[in-house]
């Protein structure tokens, strides 16, 4: 099975780059804008896009993403509308998209149905931040059977024996959480980040992408030198929110400019 996620990492590796993966909250400020942003980001240097599905009680997210979830839910966000948006987007945009979604939502719909609908809508992978890999075997198999890559996370607190389990279950890439804590911008990257990434890479056959706490161009550059992918979340979500009063076309162009500045630093 060839997945767009594999193709994105193969292409960036050939080009001597890290894959740049911006994160967007679905439905903030509205789903039509989210779709337009994915398309714009793809044009401006995003190799993959992580799409956060709003949830009422996010445990892994910091204040910026939590607030964006709250805004989207207050505006009446419904899960089914994400699949409609993706289906429509796929008529003109092929950038790989992974949904970052709480197990609460996946369980409510039923994992099998969630994955089937996501795959049919053109989603390529799924990240479930509250499903640890050792609890996630059955769910991961259901995702794969539907054609979705299940991506699991490794944290700085993860001991080597767990990293091996995660490396076995995670498909497409491994998501390395750079900081012990929730998502959100940090002034500095952890000093031992390179060692941690090297340790994960030593047991992983798949690429390793780094997220949580990466927000500035120089941080993107630093991560790009040592990892296969760079994920920027809260900084982009904050930018989109700051621009949300603008007409959609202007918002999309300005956010795209912001993403392009970050993407410019993905060269190794």
């Amino acid at each position: 099975m060839r997945n767009r996620i594999d193709e994105a990492f193969a292409r960036t590796q050939r080009a001597g780059e890290a894959a740049f993966m911006p994160f967007l909250t679905a439905g903030d400020p509205d789903l039509a804008t989210t779709g337009a942003l994915i398309e714009e980001f793809a044009r401006r240097g995003a190799d993959l896009v992580e799409l956060g599905i709003p949830y009422s009680d996010p445990v892994a997210d910091g204040p910026t993403i939590q607030a964006s979830y709250t805004r989207a839910l207050a505006r009446g966000f419904r899960l089914a509308a994400v699949f409609d948006m993706m289906k429509e987007l796929r008529t003109r945009c092929a950038v790989p998209v992974l949904t970052m979604v709480s197990l609460s939502l996946v369980t409510r719909m039923g994992a099998e149905e969630y994955f089937a609908r996501a795959a049919e809508a053109g989603v390529d992978g799924v990240i479930i931040p509250d499903l640890p890999a050792d609890e996630g075997g059955a769910v991961a198999r259901l995702a794969l059977r539907a054609g979705l890559y299940p991506v699991f996370l490794v944290a700085p607190t993860t001991p080597p024996e767990r990293t091996r389990i995660i490396a076995r279950r995670s498909k497409g890439f491994i998501y390395y959480v750079s900081v012990t804590g929730t998502t959100g911008a940090r002034r500095e990257l952890p000093p031992d980040l390179a060692e941690h990434i090297a340790a994960v890479q030593s047991v992983a056959r798949q690429p390793v992408a780094v997220g949580f706490g990466v927000s500035r161009p120089e941080q993107v550059a630093a991560v790009a030198r040592i990892a296969d992918g760079v994920i920027v979340g809260s900084a982009i979500v904050r930018k989109v929110h700051e621009l949300s009063a603008l007409p959609r076309a202007e918002l999309v162009a300005a956010a795209g400019e912001f993403a392009a500045e970050l993407a410019a630093h993905k060269k190794k």
């Binding site: 949830y55 709250t70 719909m109 993860t158 767990r162 012990t180």
Partner: protein, 395 residues
């Protein structure tokens, strides 16, 4: 004996938390397993419960309440007499001992009514830990006395302003703190929810309630009670009570949830009666959710029951039929609060008043030869401002 080694009570329970926290709960499970086998740990906890918390608590015959209701004879298990005024301290002392064993110096907790927050603050003061308690702003308003008590005890009370600003958000916020502080901080979770090993561990620490009740009742009556009734929010006092009776098929076990404004309104906290099976705060259990899986706001007059989830073992007991789950409304709890105060000279916590309210319905339907034990999980001093406001009285 449930749960299994990965924390499953049948299909319920488990560990659905971010990877960052997995090593911490794995270590906690291992340390707790070792502590259970360590006789010195047990002796130290027993001594703290006896010399500091005030155990054993009395089993009081409620004679005037029994006479008024004209049916089964009612006994009250007096957890309200414990230091801090509720059963929560049974658990926080146990977890504080574990915290010391793990070499951690800081504890965090979530609290609704503030009873668990106060019990955590007390344990932190006693052991010299730094302590942060997350509490919803709405609950800080309803339970200002407990906020003050926590501060006097040296804890920081962190207001939580998201969502309904009650227990659910406080718990989410405590878990988010733990994401960043897990290396030196233990999360003293206050109920039988959350990821494994919390549901089992908190139940075990609370099982002293059921153990004492059983012994006291047998000594007094020479047999077991016909019914045991306890209120259920997350469900810790009920779990600690029921777990010592689940093997006695003749003892009817009844958990009382908060029906708020009524089960047919959206304003209730009757998770087991009206919820669906889902994931919240790290385990699979019944939960109040919308069709997408977003958590619905709960409502109860009692901040301690105002929670849209419930411990996974209760979900298991419900589905296997061992425990019957019913509910009492805000109005019924208020009525019971006053009735117990006037007839027995005991002001119950609003949480416990829900159990009293159900006993007031149940006892008249039973014969005078039958008996009921009611778990009076806490005292109502903390609720006096809220009750006065509801009754239109001034303090």
């Amino acid at each position: 004996m449930l749960p299994d080694s990965r924390g499953h009570f049948g299909v319920f329970g488990g560990r659905y938390i971010p990877e960052t926290l997995m090593p911490a709960v794995t270590e906690l499970a291992a340390q707790y397993r070792a502590a259970r086998r360590d006789r010195a740990f047990g002796r130290e906890l027993d001594a703290l419960l006896r010399d500091y918390a005030g155990r054993p608590t009395a089993l009081t015959p409620a004679e005037r309440l029994t006479a008024r209701l004209g049916g089964a004879r009612i006994y009250l298990k007096r957890e309200d007499l414990l230091h801090t005024g509720a059963h929560k301290i049974n658990n926080t002392l146990g977890q504080a001992l574990l915290t010391r064993r793990m070499g951690k110096r800081r504890v965090i907790a979530e609290t609704g009514a503030g009873q668990h927050g106060v019990a955590t603050a007390v344990a932190a003061a006693l052991f010299g830990f730094e302590c942060d308690v997350y509490m919803g702003e709405e609950d800080m308003r309803r339970q200002s006395l407990n906020v003050f008590r926590m501060r006097m005890l040296g804890a920081r009370v962190v207001p939580v302003t998201s969502g309904t600003r009650t227990l659910k958000e406080a718990m989410t916020e405590a878990m988010r703190d733990w994401m960043g502080s897990v290396r030196d901080t233990h999360y003293i979770l206050g109920s039988v929810g959350g990821p494994h090993p919390f549901p089992r561990m908190v139940r075990d620490f609370q099982s002293v309630i059921g153990r004492e009740t059983r012994r006291q009742f047998l000594r007094r009556e020479g047999r077991l009670p016909d019914a045991v009734v306890a209120c259920v929010g997350g469900g810790s006092n009920a779990a600690g009570m029921f777990t010592r009776f689940v093997g006695d098929a003749a003892v009817k076990l009844i958990g009382v949830e908060a029906a708020g404004h009524g089960l047919d309104t959206p304003q209730h906290a009757a998770t087991l009666e009206r919820g669906v099976v889902g994931i919240l705060h790290g385990s699979r259990s019944y939960v109040l959710q919308d069709a997408d899986g977003q958590t619905l706001p709960a409502h109860s007059i009692s901040a301690g029951l105002d929670y849209p989830g419930v411990g996974p073992e209760h979900s298991y007991w419900k589905d296997c039929g061992r425990v019957e789950y019913v509910s009492a409304t805000d109005a019924e709890a208020l009525e019971a609060f006053q009735t117990l105060s006037r007839l027995e000279g005991i002001i119950p916590a609003l949480e416990s008043a829900h159990a009293v309210a159900h006993v007031m319905k149940l006892a008249p339907r039973m014969s005078r030869e039958q008996t009921i034990v009611l778990c009076l999980s806490g005292r109502g001093d903390k609720d006096c401002f809220e009750v006065a406001e509801k009754l239109g009285l001034k303090i």
